[in-house]
Amino acid sequence: MKEAWLFTVQRLSALVLAPLVLLHLGVILYAVRDGLSAEEILARTQGSQLWGVVYGLFVFAAAIHAPIGLRAVLREWVGWRGAGLDIAMGLFGLLLLALGLRALAAVL
């Protein structure tokens, strides 16, 4: 049941991430078209609710998606199993969430 849930939640977060990653790549291409500067980025993001929602969603989905994937990789390649792995991956997810939200807060 737990495995089925992790599998399902990872698929759902992938559904959220797929369009957002494309959008993110598109924005990168657009943003660097004539050089990249902090002012330019801040001009686009500061005070923008739309970018706040988009990247907020991105950060949450990534913080869910990545630890589940990393857990599968570690189980398969290192043979690490059990509660220790689950706790470590939970902490990893929280770390991603904290870093992501911090970055988001800095540009909004």
């Binding site: 049941m1 495995e3 089925a4 849930w5 599998f7 398969e76």
Partner: protein
Amino acid sequence: MTARATKSRSRAGRIGGVSGSIVKCICPRGVKTGYDWSVMAALEVEIWRGEGNDGSWRCYAVPHQANQTVLDVVTHVQRHIDPSLAYRFACRVGMCGSCAMTVNGRPRWTCRTHVSRVSRKGRLRISPLRNLPVIRDLAVDMAPFFEKWRDAEARFVPSPVPVEEPVRPGEPARKAADAGIECINCAICYAACDSVAWNPDYPGPAALNRLWTLVNDRRDGDQDGHLEAAGTGCHLCRSHQECAEVCPTNLNPTTAIAGLKREVFRRTLARPPWEGRQ
């Protein structure tokens, strides 16, 4: 041991499902086995010999005959050259699934594999199946394969109430079940599968393929239990399709497993954990 030697040893181990030192082998073309070698071409046959994980390749010269199968070659070695060779077969017509071995690096049903199709320049290299413990020579212990099958609960559970509506061959669920029904339990897919090699929790392609046929069988009384069981292992499939590539009866367990993943996804969404299992 040097890094290079380690690498070649592990590669050899991967191919044959066995590890151990490889002896460079010069085939005894001059060996007399009661055949007139002047009229018959000889096959150079390397066979993995040994108990458990320890063993080495040994070479045999076997006369090449028309329509000869790999099983014929192994049988020739046992009957005419070395009676101590252990291997397994039963039906010899591709029904029982007991004759699977690794032939030139690929798992195959040896009773239906013609030498002319797989030998390379008259050479054959035959070893036990990968991913299963070797008992001796070419015979592997199939117990883990069937135990995982059992643990995945991949068995028919008769419906407690009679199925009123007749099952029609053309209905989509029946077609999906029929697509996977001809499994002969040979473990060839199990031997070919990297997910099996990497992950001891993975039930393997054959067990999951069977689960998918049951999920699509209206006469089965425990579809929910099958999906619950599938939920613990089907997501460990990486969709490499090695199973579909090697299955001798042309089944496609990857497609079956994709179906299970889809149904497990649906079932899990329909039933949040806080509602518990009904």
